[in-house]
Point group: C2
């Protein structure tokens, strides 16, 4: 059911063009996955997402497990039917959300116990249960339970963490039964290149349909992040998709692709949209600023999205200040359009063997503004 | 620019079929106007509204005057362009909102002073300024400033109030200059039929493009409301549109049409949607109820709206409980579809001279459930 084909590698960088096939259709990589935490990409319909060019979305296992419950979603025909999205879905393992609970959770070799952020109820997740939950949701790509190493940690802590992640990955692999669902392994090791290599080798030895780098964008300096990505991605098998978890900014996407990454997810475009921070070719726009109060121009005059075709900055500012529901929708549509178009442009540049040139232009435009 | 033609009157009731022509297109009556308080019908785009069949929307002068300001909207090309709605718009006078401020406002013969609900700033609106504001907004139909008589009042208070409304109507008529904008007068008089008659005669003597009944749905028993409507509407000229302000429920619409009303507006479908109360042919659905948790059926199996074609009650309940933005949008779309379809069915029934039969069926279906 699941396969990946590497279709082209850029002549002057590690940027790759690929195609993932799933039971719910194809994904052209490199790809950005909009985040639909609770079974909906906030404010948008599946039709909106397709029109924006989304080919795969990410849903959060932790949230759906707690509400409405994975067994309920299974009974209702799976997550695709539940949310009326018939295209590929990747589910995370829920680990990242659980670890973010801080004092509300406790980790052991067996698994992780935590209290719900919704009602304080007690829960225990294991590598096996996390696989079972994702099989119940019926996503196309499931992720192993991992411990997301925080930043900073000592090398000793990072090693202990990656060993736990490795043991859990083995248990996930054994527990996984679905033939229509892919399972991805996660490489940890914080910012230590030798530990990243050790983790990558252990995870590859278990063997997965794809490989992810976890524990990035958790507070480490961007220079260290890029070094880890640059050193670790080439260790992974070229014939499997590579997923940079939780990244990122437009810059993260460009730099990640340059180093050979295929999949990305981040709440940045959608969350920032709701906070009135909008991405444009010339940089970021804070729409509440008074300078836009009488501005009849579209947000980004070069943008062809629905928002930019039909509304002025003045109107977008008004909606934002009035906390109107349409504000979230128009802003989210614009930001996702920006991210989707960026990825389309990236894919075209890789196909044309001119990714290096594309990258230079990308930064040049930002400097000009 | 503005005209109304009465096209048909039902054989067995006072229900009428008509057509309003404005600078921004036609409105087939009887019609329900979705409320777009702050220059947006909450959660929906203008394209959504057209797809739902909306031909005219209502915007609130009070809100737009305070934020973003009518002069700003004028500079930006008027409300139609500002909000990207190129079809007819009716603006209220702002009077109702100001009177709802209670202790924050003070009425004199000259006008009404009040403090903004947004920032406490002081404002003074007169019949003349209310006309000027609506001309700046550029709506197709403007309303006179009136005093919305509360319920209950003594006949003496009601008379004093309707005299103020009459004086203000004269001043509005004199102040109004736009040739592309219609101006409607408002009949007050509370639940007293003789005072309603007196008010109607005074307002008609001034002469307006259309006539509204105000001061209804403010707490009076529905029996008294219907008697006032039944007694007052026939006093108004048959060749002018008649607007029942602030009504209503589906029952209000059916009963209003039966008595000869042409225009309606109400926040009910949109506000209730956001509160999870949904209209169906079989009555009202409270979507948060536990009975819907595992229900795979559409909200209303007979409904052809986007929400009912694509989502289950279980999903709608999930979105509502999770306070997801898509909940407001899917619920609003459904409720407005219900109201728009109800009005389409009403118009067809009037055209076919079977409105009485339609009305019987309407109530029969509700009894069955």
């Amino acid at each position: 059911m699941f396969s990946f084909s590497l279709e082209h590698t850029d002549g002057a960088s590690r940027a790759r063009l690929g195609r993932i096939r799933t039971a719910h259709g194809e994904i052209r990589t490199p790809v950005f996955m909009p985040v639909g935490t609770q079974g909906t990409v906030k404010s948008l319909t599946p039709e909106d997402l397709r029109e924006l060019g989304a080919e795969v979305i990410l849903a959060n296992t932790y949230h759906l497990y707690l509400r409405p419950g994975h067994e309920r979603i299974r009974r209702l025909g799976g997550l695709h039917r539940f949310m009326h999205w018939e295209y590929p879905i990747l589910t995370d393992s829920g680990g990242y959300q659980v670890f973010s609970l801080g004092a509300l959770r406790k980790i052991s070799a067996e698994g992780v116990s935590f209290r719900s952020h919704l009602d304080g109820s007690s829960h225990f997740l294991t590598p096996e249960s996390v696989v079972e939950i994702q099989e119940a949701l019926g996503s196309d790509i499931a992720m192993c339970l991992d411990e997301c190493t925080p930043y900073p940690v000592t090398p000793e802590e990072a090693r202990h963490s990656l060993e736990l992640t490795r043991d859990w990955a083995r248990r996930c692999r054994r527990a996984h039964q679905s033939e229509s669902q892919a399972l991805f392994g996660i490489v940890q090791g914080s910012v230590f290149q030798d530990l990243r290599r050790e983790s990558a080798e252990a995870i590859m030895e278990i063997g997965f349909d794809g490989y992810a780098l976890g524990g990035l964008s958790v507070g480490e300096p961007s220079g260290e992040r890029l070094e880890v990505i640059e050193a670790t991605l080439p260790l992974l098998p070229a014939d499997r998709p590579r997923y940079l978890m939780g990244l990122g900014t437009p810059e993260d996407l460009v730099e990640g692709v340059a180093r050979g990454a295929d999949l990305f997810d981040c709440v940045l475009p959608t969350r920032n949209a709701r906070n009135g921070m909008l991405f444009t070719r010339r940089g970021r726009v804070i729409i509440k600023n008074a300078v836009y109060a009488d501005d009849p121009q579209p947000l980004d005059p070069e943008c062809a999205c629905y928002t930019c075709r039909n509304y002025s900055r003045a109107y977008l500012r008004h909606l934002y200040l009035a906390k109107e529901l349409l504000s979230y929708r128009l802003n989210t549509g614009h930001n996702l359009h920006y991210f989707m178009e960026l990825m389309r442009d990236i894919r075209q540049a890789v196909a044309d063997d001119r990714f290096r040139e594309f990258k230079d232009n990308f930064y040049q435009k930002r400097k000009e503004s």
